[in-house]
């Protein structure tokens, strides 16, 4: 068993889990943060994307033990005081989701992208979203949402 101490959305947690436990399962099953979705289980779809120490990562391909001591932000941690994060607001405004399954991971990936590159070109947006799959939208409205969110995210962070 591995004893894990980590901060999730600003709250400190200590848990004892099996060594093979994945970060996605720790978040969903132990901490009940089910906004982090598990889509493909093969590191391709990006639905499980969270931020670990400020970087977007796929939590289905990281052991909880690897995240010991880390600062994790999940989709539940983005909105502040009932106000949506600019990326969340942009996804709502631009109708950047249909079924919504990929959306939490997509939003976490976009938040990561805009942190590195606050004003991405269309090509950079496509390149930046290569780790996330959406089966409904055809990506057009997602790219629109990224463009809307670009420039707004700086003050929110």
């Amino acid at each position: 068993m591995a004893k894990i101490k980590l901060t999730v959305n600003g709250v400190k947690h200590t848990r004892e889990v099996e060594d093979r436990t994945l970060l996605a399962n720790l978040l969903r099953d132990e901490l009940k943060l089910t906004g982090t979705h598990i889509g493909c289980d093969t590191t391709q779809c990006g639905c499980c994307t969270v931020h670990m120490n400020g970087r977007a990562v796929k939590s289905c391909t990281i052991l909880a033990a690897q995240a010991d001591g880390a600062d994790i932000v999940t989709i539940e941690g983005l909105a502040k005081d009932g106000v949506l994060h600019p990326v969340q607001q942009a996804f709502t405004d631009c109708h950047a989701l249909q079924c919504g399954f990929c959306t939490p991971g997509m939003i976490m990936a976009v938040a990561g992208l805009l942190k590195d590159n606050p004003n991405p070109s269309e090509e950079e947006i496509y390149h930046g979203l290569e780790g996330n799959l959406c089966r409904c939208t055809g990506y057009i409205n997602i790219v629109k949402a990224v463009k809307q969110a670009a420039g707004q995210t700086e003050e929110a962070h």
Partner: protein
């Protein structure tokens, strides 16, 4: 995933000790290949020895004629390092094209070279730049290190610590990525060095290889036209559901020409 014991290595020595005591133990760096493999139950190590926390393995150093990158440097660190961008921009570019952003935020150069996936990007840079793979035991020339698909010169319990790249006069990397995985269907690293032109090809064959015929032609005439009529032997190329041998053989020529064209604007 089968049950496994996770060990966070405090130091290189500690990691080596755990490996020595447990013959079925495996090193864990970024885990971008290993964890996925374990989830499919394609491997069953007794222990995972996590070396990601060893700070000394993350440093990037430049000397007069070499760029030395710690094995634990993540792809995004190599891609965005100003030192790498100034010293060998083609290497920073290569790192920026691996997998996807989330994978680049975790995956490491040492992990990629230890795994030696025939479609991985870094082997092309290591062989193309005539790099030295430094381990906790010795220094291995890239030409001796790569031994075919997923095979390397690494011995049991040996740990890659750094990769030392001699600085080229100029270099370029070009790849034809698989659209879903980002892996190189064919990736070509061309380097102009003090001792001639080197052309290293990944993704096309059973493992990374040098295309010596193109090297000789480019040594005389460094233009895409110089190799337009050269062909690699399709029989030696890889074949899978994504591309036939003949298709890959053709890609090697096309992608090499693109890489050479890029050299014109490369530093």
């Amino acid at each position: 995933m089968y049950s496994v014991n996770y060990v966070r290595a405090k130091s290189l020595k500690h990691a080596a000790e755990v490996l020595a005591q447990n013959p079925e133990a495996k090193l864990l760096a970024g885990g971008m290949t290993l964890i996925a493999t374990l989830k499919q139950r394609l491997a069953q190590p007794s222990h995972l020895v996590d070396i990601a926390g060893i700070g000394a393995l993350r440093t990037i150093r430049l000397s007069k004629d070499k760029l030395s990158i710690g094995a634990g440097a993540r792809h995004y660190e190599v891609a965005t390092s100003q030192v790498v961008r100034d010293a060998i921009p083609a290497l920073a570019y290569l790192a920026s094209q691996i997998g996807d952003p989330q994978v680049r935020n975790m995956g490491t150069i040492g992990g990629s070279l230890a795994n030696n996936d025939p479609n991985a990007d870094y082997p092309a840079a290591a062989l193309g730049l005539n790099a030295t793979i430094v381990t906790n035991r010795r220094r291995i020339k890239a030409s001796d290190y790569f031994q075919g698909m997923f095979a390397t010169a690494l011995e049991e319990g040996e740990i890659i610590t750094r990769i030392s790249f001699p600085l080229p006069k100029k270099a370029a990397y070009e790849k034809f990525p698989h659209p879903a995985s980002g892996y190189a269907m064919t990736g070509v690293f061309v380097a102009v060095t003090g001792r001639g032109v080197r052309v290293a090809v990944t993704g096309a064959g059973q493992g990374v290889f040098r295309w010596t015929q193109a090297e000789r032609a480019l040594g005389k005439n460094l233009t895409p036209e110089a190799i337009a009529k050269l062909k690699v032997d399709a029989e030696e190329m890889n074949e899978d559901m994504h591309a036939s041998r003949e298709y890959r053989a053709n890609l090697v020529n096309v992608i090499t020409r693109r890489a050479v064209a890029k050299l014109a604007s490369a530093g």
